[in-house]
Amino acid sequence: MSAQFNVVLSGTIADGHDLNSVVSSLAARFKIEVARATALLKGQPSVVKKGVDRATAEQLCAAIMQLGAQASVEPAQAATAVASVAAASNPQPQPEAAAVTSASRDVAAKTLTPDPRGLKFSIQGQPDYAFLTVQIPANQTLKVEASAMATMDTNLAMKTRLRGGLGRFMTGESIFINEFTAQGGPGEIGIAPGAPGDLRHVYLDDQTIYLQNSAYVASTSGVAVESKWQGLVKGFFSGESLFLIRCQGQGDLWFSSYGGIIEIDVSGEYVVDTGNIVAFTDGLSYNVTKVGGYKSLFFSGEGFVCRFSGQGRVWIQTRKVGPLVSWVWPFRPSKK
């Protein structure tokens, strides 16, 4: 868990930003000279922070992105530390001497202009109000959670399909996934998840990711989306849904959370509150167990937890909807 990460400035600026203003805000924010800030934005990737943990790196990265510059977080020892999904989709081995730098640059590129095989997209407003914009190439189709579309170009044609089988019906999640096809030319679509929170992208390369039932946002046509029965015991005690959404195949997948998202690379075991799970990779198996003794089961406020084991990544959210709802409860008006 104590993996080290670097923050890499890609050297380019985000769309819709002016180079000069980004340079000056970067210089002001990090108290560096304007000349140095200009050099950092010459289009060459440069490591701006070395060997910090993931949370610190992500915080810095987010701060940089907010100023309009492009940055990414990557493992410090790219050759060894790249785990999970992103790594598995790495291209063939590079010549040895260049291996470390090129591998890390690869990861960086993936977070920015995702996977070269995937669609171009951008996520704004992280982590509180993440909003997704995807560029759909001509004649390609994007699957989007029903009612999540906020804006779109006029050449996008929408078709509603029943996806994911009966299971999704029972998850309480809408069973409809809308398909948006770009007709006659490329199109842009803006997608807003239901809850205020964070958003993540993963490029699946013949891999499988399980999502908590409300986390699905969008995916490309190569990804199969279906409900997976969790088993009565697991589903019942998790207090969540009896179903998970299984996404597998090849292509882009976006998922969202209520609250911020934290990535945890698990090797061995890790415990997560059942209500805080957003997604996890296929390499992990899980059990729903009680936390601590029986007293803790009833009084800890944690109830049942998910115990993950194996190798893989878990995405967790910092908030749960339940506590907000119970807080709102006393504010209901009283009937006369």
């Binding site: 943990d53 949370a55 415990v271 910092t318 749960k320």
Partner: protein
């Protein structure tokens, strides 16, 4: 214990990294994830210092009746803590001093800090806020949360803070509840109601949002209670 805050201020969570044998006491329900080998025990009081009255008092303070104790068995094990409502988190280190925390804002503290409840008398009852304040006393790190962002207000002399915006304050400060305006009528019509007047030298930690105001804004859109 090392505390790291992420996703501030709206969706903040805290990552605690513990040394071998180190333990931390947290509000029930705050844990969102942890290393699998962290031991957890649930009690109604801080270890070795419990009494039933303290427990009941804490319940009235808007805190949970129970506290969880997380104990690390190896160096580097992690515990992630979150908050029930959208908001910020902050940490501070106590050096043989006490901190008064608004009921509901306490998240966790190190072993050297005692979790007690200070009865503030009936004057607090009038403020419409919780009757009780949690009193943290001793030496060690503490973790607090708020509704909205947290900001510090140093006090040297006097400062007036709306009761709904107080997260915590040093015990070195004296406080009295008073009206915001010149007359009671104006204070109530002005929507400020009661305010806290702090006197002395110390710091008040405030939250940018007031739970009561947000809740009241939601009321018209909620379905009425039955009966």
């Amino acid at each position: 214990m090392d505390i790291q805050l992420v996703h501030r201020p709206g969706n903040s969570a805290a990552k605690l990294t513990l040394d071998a044998g180190e333990s931390v006491t947290a509000e029930a329900g705050a844990m969102i994830a942890m290393s699998a080998d962290v031991g957890i025990t649930t009690t109604t009081h801080k270890r070795g210092s419990g009494s039933f009255t303290k427990t009941v008092k804490r319940l009235f303070a808007g805190e949970s009746l129970f506290l969880n104790h997380f104990e690390s068995r190896r160096a580097g094990s992690e515990v992630w803590l979150g908050t029930p409502l959208p908001g910020d988190m902050t940490t501070m280190t106590l050096q043989r001093e006490s901190l008064i925390v608004q009921g509901g804002s306490f998240v966790a503290c190190e072993n050297g800090v005692e979790v007690g409840v200070g009865w503030q008398g009936f004057r607090t009852l009038l403020s419409g806020e919780s009757l009780f304040w949690v009193k943290l006393q001793g030496t060690g790190k503490v973790l607090l949360n708020s509704f909205g962002a947290i900001y510090e207000q140093p006090v040297d002399g006097e400062l007036i803070v709306d009761t709904g915006h107080i997260v915590a304050f040093n015990e070195t400060l004296q406080f009295t509840l008073t009206k915001a305006g010149g007359s009671w009528l104006h204070s109530i019509l002005g929507g400020e109601g009661l305010v806290c007047k702090f006197r002395g030298k110390g710091t008040v930690w405030c939250q940018s949002n007031n739970q009561r105001s947000f809740g009241a804004a939601l009321t018209p859109t909620l379905r009425a209670r039955s009966r």
